[in-house]
Structure formats: C-alpha cells, structure tokens
Amino acid sequence: MKTNYDLVVIGGGSAGLAAAISAYDHGIKDILLLEAEAHLGGILLQCIHNGFGLHEFKEQLTGPEYAERFANQLIERKIEYKTDTLVLEIKEDKTVIYSNKEDGLVEVKAQAIILATGCLERTRGAINTPGDRPSGVITAGLAQKYLNIDGYLVGKRVFILGSGDIGLIMARRMTLEGAKVLGVAEIMPYSNGLNRNIVQCLHDFNIPLYLSHTVTNIIGKDKLEKVVIAKVDENFNPIKGTEKEFQVDTLLLSVGLIPLNGLLDKVNVPTHPRTRGALVSQNLETMKEGIFSCGNVLHVHDLVDFVTKEGRKAGYGAATYLKGKMHKKGRRIITRNKSGVSYVVPYYIDVENILDNLVELNFRVTKPFEKTRLIVKLDDKEIKNIFKLHMLPSEMESVLIEKEILMNSNAKEITLEIKEG
C-alpha cells in the first residue's frame, strides 16, 4: 500500500474536490483524497434543490449535479481517492492517519495537507434550548439527509428554529412532501438566510417568519408534542406574556454551522475566535507550513460557488508550496475587522507570496446595511472607499486589493470597516 503522497486532501465535498483538481492542474500529480462518507460530493448530495453553479457555470444546477461535475473532473484526472474513509488524526510532521474497511488503520506521510472537512450544524445543546428531551428535535441538515438521501420524513407538523438557509430550504421541502410547517422563529430582528430563500421557501408557501422570536420550551415525554416560542428583547431575553404554542411532532434546528476542524487540535494551529476556522494567509495556508484549509472548515459560506473558488485557491497554494516556489515568509499584513464588519478571511497577507495580481478579502457584516461605504485602510491610509447599496450578514462580501498597493506599503495592518451615511 502506498503510504507517501505529495498532497493529501481531507474531504471530498465541494472544497476538497476543487482543491485536489486545482493542485493537479498546477502540476501536482501525487495526490490522495480521503472522503468520510460513501460517495464524493459532501453535503451537496443531499441538496437536491437547484440554484447551485450560477457563478461557476452560469446555470442553475442541483447539488448532486454540481458535485458530479467536479467528481468527474477528479476521476478524469485519475486522482486517487478513497471513500468511507475517516481521517482520525493529523500529526505535526504531516502524517495522516485514516481508517477504512479495506486498508485498515493506515499512516500516510504527506508533504502538504489540505483540510476540507466542512462544518457541522449547531445542535440544541450548543444553544441550550430549555425543556424536555423527546425525539423529534433534529437539525435541519440531518432531516434533509433523511429525506433526500434515505427517503424518510421525520415528521408531519413542523416548527423551525433559526432562519439559516438549510432550515428555509427544508421548510419548502417538507411542505412539498406533505408536512405542515407552522412557522420559523429567528432570534435576530432580520433573517439569517439568503433573501431568495425567504421568498421562495417561506413567502411562496405562506409560512410565517417570526423575527425576534426564539423557542423557550420543548414539551414531550418520548416524542415531541409541543414547542413554545416567545418574542425576545434587545438582549435576546424572552419577553413574558408573548408566548405562542405550537402542537408539532418535529422541531428543526437551523441555528448555525461550526467548522469541523478537530483534526487541527494536535497540530497546534491557531484558530479564529469568531469563525472558529484556522488562521490563514491569502493562499489559505494555516500557521503551520504546508497545511492548508478551505471551504466551510475555514469559514462558513453561503454559496457553493465561493467554496469551489476557495478550494481552487488552496490547491494552487499547496501546489506552489510543493514545487518549492513559496518564498521564505517575510512581512505580514494582518487583517482587522472594525465597526460593522464581523470578521475577515484571510487573517493575514503573506506579502512575499502574493501569487495573483489581486488579493481577495472575504468578510461579513455585523447587521444589515443600506447605502453605506466600505472603507479599507492600510494602517491609517485609506486605500478603498466603496459605495454599497445593500449588505446582509447572511451574504459573504468580498473586496479585491491590488498586489502592487500591498507590495509598496510598509503597513502592518489592513482594516475593513463600514461607514454609514
């Protein structure tokens, strides 16, 4: 069995597939891609609705169609991959330990690693929803998997907590399968999902969206019987007297996603307190040389097209590193989020190794903004002042910075902030 590879890609979803293909196209042929589930494609396989690929292919594909195009590209290039294979550990020396039925427990030595393990859904425990512990309280993504992959409907009277996109998609999907969706509660005063999903999944089916509401009680001995929601004040505390009860057999949770980066624990890679993904350069290299991170394990994306793009960037970065073309690390410009910006990815710009003419900074805003300006500063010097008509926390924003400006500056920090008015 082969136990040495130039590049090991962990995760065969949209990020991992794009990363492996891109590394290959940039000259790295000795690649192993490892996927935990039975098929390539990751979470896309259960996203049977359309709307994928608008940026990438200029057409609307379903999740499985989108995944298939990249899986085919991987197979055409004869890149080695293993499914039903879980990576258990990455060591500091870039040893990757995986396990599956055929090979057993195997240690492979990689020269570079791309981590593309995606994210997990926040659960009831993570948000401490009070009440009983019956069955029928389930994350939206798991309900989606049961419905779209396995062919099971988890319940027929449904309430949804959280207006994340998966919850919205599932409101429509379960309605189409004959379930009654009684409402969606969102603790924020605005929705956390894409606007098009609010319209197409809730409005079109007359499903009420309760903004500034949360679930305050879950009732049911063995099986869910009832949920209670209440309006919240500006500190997100439930307001007494505003309770509403819903007789339901299912509560779907769509309350956020967390990067699944437990594999970084033993490698001592620092993570971002807000995104909980690794701190990376613009080439998506973590603070550990030769270990890259991309896709939802780095920060949670709203569109798969952007995940693909990020995966490619990681593949390109890893290929450059493997060919020995990365320069010794020199000056860093740290990215900073100020007023109105909740986080910026990458964490820093590795000035000696800017591979393209433009450096893309991704960010999210802290709340919905209208008619504002995005200000980008290198230390105190303003380098961008861009008018923005709309910005929403649910939609990732980006800004491009010219390589030349960065090369010619001695700045230590690059700051993004939103100016109103």
Partner: protein, 482 residues
C-alpha cells in the same frame, strides 16, 4: 415461578441482580423503560464519592465508605471506565474554611482519608481554579465512573449468569396469595415470584403502595447539568466541589471518564416524577455558582444540558429493609446521592437480607467477568489492523466525534442487555456523545440497528417505544400510518 423479582433496572436493581446471580435462584428484573439505566442512573454526576460528607452513623455514610474501595475490582471485572482522580472541596472564604475543618473531622469519624491543602498547593494541582480559593479538602479516594457502562455491564453480567430481563414492563399491580406474589405489568404480562426487591427509584413509594406499604414517601429532587466537550484533558483533573451548604453538595465541576466535563447540579424538589426538563434560570444559577470556583469556563464548549432526578425519602437516608407489610418484599428506596457510590454496599446488604429469608446455595458456575468491551481507542495500530483484517467493520468509523467503529456498535447490540435504540447505542459505545450530538452518525446507527434487530429503519426508536426518528417513508410507495 421466580425466586426473586427485581423491580427497576437502574444501577441499584442491576447491582442487586448481579450480586444475587452468584446464588442458585431464579431471578428476573423488570424495567419499565426500553433499556436499563434510563432514569436516575442515566443522569447524575458519575462520581464515586470518598464518603467524608454523609452524616456519621447513617446508611449513606456506612455504605458509601464500605463501597468505595470495592469499585476497582467491580470495574475491572465488568470492564467499566473508572478513574481515581481524587476530589477537592473548595473554600472561598473564612466561613467555608471553617466548614472544611468540620468536614475533616467528619471524615475522621466516617473513616475517610482526607487532607487540607493550602492555596498554593491547590492552585498547583488545579491551575484553572479561581485565585480566590483559600483552602481545599483533598479526598484521594474519590473517583469518577461511567454510570452507563457500570449499570449496563452489571445487567449484562447478571444475564450471562442466568438472570432474566424484561424491558417495557411497568408494574401496575402486585397480589400476594399462598406465599407468593403475582406481579402484573402494564403490558398485561404477569410474573409469579417468592420475593420482590423494590428498586424503583423515584417511584419506589408507588411500587411499595401496591402491597399497601405506605411507610415511606419519595420526593424527586431535580439536578440540572451542563456537559462540555472534551476540549482539553487538563482543564480540570480532580472532581471539584464548592463547600456544601444546606442545599447539598452545591456545585460540582468534574471530568468524566471520557474527559468531557460535567457542571452541575442544581437542586430543586419537583412534583412530577417524570419531569427531566431543563430551565434557563436554573442553569444560569448553576453557571453562576460554577463560575465562583472557575472563572473561565468555556461555555462555548457546551454540547448538551440535562436533568436527572434524585429519589429523596422522608427519612433523608437510604431505606433498605423488609417491608413492614410483607417480609418477602424488600424496599431499596431513597437512594439519592451518594447512591451510585454506595451501590456496591447496597447490593451486598440486600443480598444478606435475601439470604436471611432463603439461604440459597452459591452458584458454582458464576463468572464475575463480562466479555471485555472491544475498544479501538485502547488498541495499538497492529492490534487494530489484526482486528480489521478479521472483521472489516472495525475499520469503518461511524462516529466521527468519538471515533466509534461499526464493529463496536454491532458488538454492543449483540451482547446480553444489548442496545435496541439509538440512545442505547450511545450509552454503551458513545456515538452521539460528541460535538455533533449524532448529526453525522445517527443515520448510520439507525441502519446498523435495523439490520441487527431485523426491523425496518423507520421502526428504529431513539429511546423508549414510540420515540420514532423517521416515521414516514417517502420513496417506497408504501406509507407508514400515524
């Protein structure tokens, strides 16, 4: 006709079953839930207390102190996770320091080894503790245990040695005639037995009332907890108590045998004996109390909250005796904290009560060991690969968070007292215990359970009968009905 019928499959009932399996008696255990270890034994602090705390001359004190050293052997025989990590009882002010010295005296009377440590030593042992700590009472014999593994391991071993188990068997009537009892369950099954042992936890008074024994009352006291992920094996090493007040042991911060951390419990009497809900205000109060001993608890690592009920008798001590109504009926009631820690001694005491009634012969074939659990996590690379070669299901890791293989899940289903639900699998081998809380592994666990139990996937339950996960089929053309 059974010789002995035990009502209740918590740690007490299961321990008694396993202890009595050492004798030549025909024994059955009835459990009202779909699995053993489903109520109090399933939701507690998982601590084998040293025994310094209970008031001297109580059954609590005597049985706790007697039991504590016995757990090493029991856990070895049953392959149960058990760590003697020692406890530190923390004093934050002068008054509490005084209490520590009183507790030290009490420990002496109870016969428990303790030591008072000064601030410097305490902080050296637990660097994450609050700087406000003045002194701590160190009890080296305090230990942590996996209560699911213990309870299930006891039942499995009891069954290996001939004890029968009936699940989903809630006792609703008991009649006594011609020197034997007829026990009727809600499912209309009846059992004849010469002796009954009432280990029905918070319901022990209701079960005793079925033979008109109303000599005691059980109230339920609820304790709520936070569970933290295993983010750092060194966050807390000892079991930490804040000096107790009249409300009990106060707050506990403790590692579990799998390096999760438990923070809790609250302590409130409740009316409904099936109310294991959690409330925000109660958990907020737990947080506040916990923060007094460790200021920087990473609550973003919380993966679950839960509540458990303690059976508190009107005597406030354990009640372990023949019923005043009928000597063939033995009450084992009011087993609140330190019930888990005293369970070994309780089982021995009940055994003696039974033998006094009927001096059963020893069972010469009794084997105290259950077949070792197959735990990949404690095998070397070579051992694992040999196992996978023999049985490839051990190569397929189903639970990403806790790294549990398909083979381990199959094994826990196929054993005596084996898992028959998603939660049953979780209690035995941990898939669903991690950060994702089963989001990734649950569909796989459902498939494995359906295959092993020879049922349809949509018939698999989460826990009790009726707790369906995926009730309705959408793709097969046949619809399951409400």
């Amino acid at each position: 006709m059974y010789d002995i019928l035990i009502i209740g499959g918590g740690v007490i009932g299961c321990f008694i079953a396993r202890e009595l399996a050492k004798y030549q008696a025909k024994i059955i255990l009835l459990e009202k839930n779909n699995d053993v270890c489903s109520e109090t034994s399933n939701a507690n602090s998982a601590i084998i207390h040293s025994g310094y705390d209970p008031l001297p001359n109580t059954l609590k004190a005597r049985l706790n102190v007697l039991s504590n050293p016995l757990f090493d052997q029991v856990c070895k025989d049953l392959d149960v996770s058990f760590i003697r990590n020692g406890s530190l009882t923390i004093a934050l002010n002068e008054e509490e320091v005084e209490t520590l010295y009183e507790l030290k005296e009490r420990a002496k009377v109870n016969g428990v080894e303790v030591e008072i440590l000064d601030k410097e030593e305490v902080l050296k042992r637990e660097p994450n503790l609050s700087d406000k700590v003045l002194k701590a009472l160190y009890a080296p014999t305090c230990a942590i245990i996996n209560p699911f593994e213990l309870t299930i391991g006891l039942m499995e071993n009891a069954m290996d040695n001939g004890v029968e188990l009936a699940l989903n068997s809630k006792v609703v009537a008991i009649a006594y005639k011609d020197n034997y009892f007829t026990v009727t369950c809600e499912n209309n099954k009846t059992y004849q037995t010469k002796t009954i042992i009432n280990a029905a936890g918070v319901y022990a008074d209701e079960v005793a009332a079925l033979i008109n024994d109303t000599s005691f009352k059980i109230k339920a006291r609820k304790g709520s907890y936070f569970v933290l992920d295993h983010f750092d094996n060194n966050f807390v090493k000892h079991t930490l108590f804040r000096v107790p007040t009249s409300k009990g042991k106060g707050v506990v911060i403790t590692p579990t045998t799998h390096y999760n951390y438990l923070i809790g419990p609250s302590s409130d009497f409740i009316d409904a004996k099936d109310d294991t809900s959690t409330e925000k205000e109660v958990l907020d109060a737990v947080k506040e109390r916990a923060n007094s001993i460790i200021e920087k608890i990473p609550y973003n690592q919380v993966i679950r909250t839960f509540s458990g009920l303690r059976a508190v008798s009107n005597t406030d001590d354990f009640i372990i005796d023949y019923s005043i109504v009928n000597k063939q009926f033995i009450n084992v009631a009011g087993i609140q904290s330190p019930g888990l820690a005293a369970s070994c001694g309780i089982a021995n005491m009940v055994r003696d009560l039974v033998l006094k009634l009927h001096p059963y012969e020893m069972n010469p074939k009794f084997n105290p060991k259950r077949r070792k659990m197959i735990k990949l996590s404690r095998m070397s690379l070579e051992e694992r690969n040999n196992l996978i070669k023999e049985n490839p299901t051990f190569g397929r890791i189903v639970c990403r968070c806790e790294k549990v293989s398909e083979g381990e899940i199959i094994d826990c289903i196929r054993r005596n007292a084996g898992a028959n639900s998603v939660k049953g699998v979780k209690k035995r081998v941990r898939p669903g215990f991690g950060k994702c809380q089963g989001t990734f592994c649950q569909p796989h666990v459902v498939k494995i359970l359906a295959r092993e139990l020879n049922i349809k996937e949509h018939e698999v339950v989460y826990d009790n009968l009726g707790s369906y996960l995926i009730k309705y089929q959408t793709k097969l053309g046949e619809k399951s009905e409400d």
